[in-house]
């Protein structure tokens, strides 16, 4: 499959902190009178901030991603644990209910930035993000869209205890992250593989990674102005996925293989 090229990447991360809690990202909720169904949750705010950061990285304006030729793929493992908890515990009212599905996070991005093209929402950890990048590459290769955004948001502060039962599988602390990747048709090759780790093998336990991990890895790789092919990998619930990318970014000319 033809590899997409990275046109921009926005990444916000809480950064690791000691202990078992979640490293929290905070953002002010903008005051938007008369628009009560918008930006109700922290997940949504962080998604918007990640897209803004991506546009800044790509030195582009909002108009560059608006319209029906932009696809939007959202990935999350934590999904809507935080907002759902608020609604269940009656800390959120009617407004909150409209925000109780993962679909509202990309919806906020679509509304705010005028993105009206194909979309998809995958629930899962790092392998789901790698699969979303592969899906984006396919949409670009078939001409279904001109650009694709891969959005990830993982927040934990409100629901860290959901993960305590799976603690041995995850790397702690839980680091909140929001990221958005802007992909356009590129020139290299991309390959995706996934497999299940055999139960009982030494590799089966531990090391599971949330959806934001591959985007963070890519951000770190780009930050080092690394050259050559890139391999991103991640594991979730025993599925291990790998994405091999021969040429990641060419528009800036700094990371071409």
């Amino acid at each position: 499959m033809r590899a997409p090229e990275v046109r921009g990447l926005g990444l916000l991360t809480g950064g690791p902190t000691p202990g078992e809690g979640a490293s929290v990202l905070t953002l002010e909720r903008p005051d938007r009178p008369g628009d009560r169904f918008r930006r109700a949750t922290r997940e949504c705010l962080l998604a918007l901030a990640a897209v803004d950061a991506m546009l800044e990285d790509g030195k582009a304006t909002r108009e560059a991603i608006a319209g029906e030729r932009t696809a939007l793929l959202y990935v999350t493992a934590a999904a809507y644990g935080a907002s759902n908890r608020q609604f269940i515990e009656r800390r959120g009212g009617v407004v909150h209910f409209a925000y109780t599905a993962p679909a509202v996070v990309p919806a906020e991005v679509a509304i705010e930035f005028g993105v009206t093209g194909p979309y998809g929402i995958l629930i899962g950890g790092a392998p789901a993000t790698l699969r979303a990048i592969e899906q984006a590459a396919r949409l670009l290769e078939t001409g279904t869209c001109d650009r694709a955004l891969v959005l990830v948001v993982e927040i934990f502060e409100e629901c860290a205890d959901l993960y305590t039962t799976r603690r041995r599988y995850h790397r702690w602390p839980l680091v909140e992250t929001a990221g958005c990747l802007w992909l356009e048709p590129g020139a290299g090759d991309l390959s995706f593989q996934s497999s299940r780790v055999v139960r009982g093998s030494s590799r089966a336990g531990g090391g599971e990674r949330f959806a934001a991990a591959p985007v963070a890895d890519l951000g770190e790789w780009l930050g080092r102005s690394a050259n050559g092919p890139l391999e991103l990998s991640g594991r979730w619930r025993g599925e291990e996925a790998r994405l091999r990318w021969s040429r990641v970014r060419s528009h800036a000319g700094d990371s071409a293989a």
């Binding site: 908890r85 679909a103 919806a107 509304i111 979309y119 998809g120 279904t144 205890d161 599925e239």
Partner: protein, 393 residues
């Protein structure tokens, strides 16, 4: 432009409020049976509307040993049990690492979260509360060791799951995919829709002038997808195309002109290499909310042109309520059964025409017809629009 690999829907399995296998579901649809009743499993006394499409007892499986006490998971596995019975798919007849699971849901295991936060802090409750937990339980039950994917595009989830399943086959990642959708009624979703005042105290009346909203239902619906060239025996039909588009308009309301749905329909037809003139039947999202049905009608007219007036359009939500993540998959299977059986199920409770909904909505009783190419549409919270193009066997 190359023609995409054709993907067959070999068989389907369902558990619904009107029948707990595909045959019972179909019989109930064509005879106009209703699955709407007083909700009994949950405390609903504080809610404005206390009815829905509730499955009173999941009767298919007698022994739930090894399956979590999670309603969502059990709906999924009951549907899988029906599927496996029809397709002789358990134990798996092929390499388990080549069998994938792709399911769509709007709620995942959220009811388990409700229980956990309500004081039942069992380890399992919290684990099952994650959105992707039921899909992994299904894979475990099937013995499938290929990719396991959960999608959550609100009420379009079932359509997205079928499309992603087809992609896994086309890319060669799997040789067989169990794909579909599910969602269970729970306090969480009933409280939410109750607060939004979207639920009807009357019957669910899609496209009727008096329509006053939806009622929620619960279901599981799964299909067995394979590359058509790999199928040697009978099949239900073919998944020809898929399209999606975002409204980019409002979190809880559809875009007033239905432009997002129109784009999704056009994309699905393009994916299938077909034109509006090829469409013989439309399974509408048809929730019976005043906005949805009017907007959906307008979108169908623009996307299909004059053909919109020439083909039957139905909604089965009057029969079983809005089954959320399962809805689009159920509607897709209904389309394929219509082609196979030569009968289009009626739009239940449609009695008074609405001037703004002026297509042929199959009121009253099932209609003899044998459609070949069918369009199934879905619209979800957050402006998620999906469209499937199906072909009868």
């Amino acid at each position: 432009m190359t023609t995409p690999e054709r993907v067959a829907i070999v068989a389907a399995g369902v558990v619904t409020p009107i029948g707990q296998d595909l045959e019972a579901f179909w019989s109930a649809l064509v005879t106009g049976a209703s699955g709407i009743s007083q909700i009994e499993r949950l405390e609903v006394a504080d809610l404005r509307v206390q009815r829905g499409g509730e499955i009173k007892k999941i009767g298919r499986i007698k022994n739930w040993r090894g399956v979590p006490d999670c309603r969502a998971t059990r709906l999924l596995i009951a549907a899988a049990d029906d599927l496996c019975a029809q397709a002789a798919f358990r134990p798996l007849p092929l390499d388990p690492t080549r069998v994938a699971v792709v399911v769509g849901t709007a709620l995942g295991g959220v009811e388990e979260g409700e229980k956990a936060l309500g004081g039942d802090r069992g380890r399992r409750r919290l684990r099952d509360a994650l959105y992707d937990a039921p899909a992994w339980e299904l894979a475990r039950w099937l013995g499938a060791r290929g990719p396991v994917v959960t999608v959550s595009t609100a009420c379009a989830s079932g359509a997205t799951a079928l499309a992603v399943g087809a992609d896994l086959l086309r890319s060669g990642e799997a040789d067989a995919v169990v794909a579909g959708g599910y969602d269970a009624l729970c306090r969480f979703v009933l409280r939410g829709f109750n607060a939004l005042r979207s639920l009807s105290r009357d019957a669910v009346r899609p496209f009727d002038r008096r329509r006053g909203g939806l009622l929620l239902g619960e279901a599981g619906a799964l299909g067995l997808l394979m590359r058509e060239r790999d199928v040697t025996g009978a099949r239900l039909g073919t998944l020809r195309g898929y399209g999606s588009a975002s409204d980019g308009f409002h979190i809880a309301a559809p875009e007033p002109e239905g432009r997002g749905l129109e784009r999704a329909i056009r994309a699905a037809l393009a994916d299938a290499r077909l034109t509006p003139g090829d469409v013989d039947f439309v399974s509408a999202h048809g929730t019976a909310t005043p906005l949805n049905d009017r907007i959906e009608t307008a979108a169908l007219k623009r996307a299909l042109g004059p053909r919109a007036y020439e083909v039957p359009v139905n909604s089965i939500k009057g029969s079983l309520g809005h089954t959320m993540g399962a809805a689009a998959a159920l509607e897709a299977f209904m389309c394929l059964l219509s082609a196979q059986r030569g009968l289009i199920p009626p739009t239940l409770n449609l009695e008074e025409a609405d001037p703004e909904c002026d297509l042929d909505y199959v009121p009253g009783r099932a209609r003899p017809a044998r459609p070949r190419i069918m369009l199934s549409t879905s619209m979800g919270f957050g402006g998620c629009n999906g469209a499937l193009i199906l072909e009868g066997a």
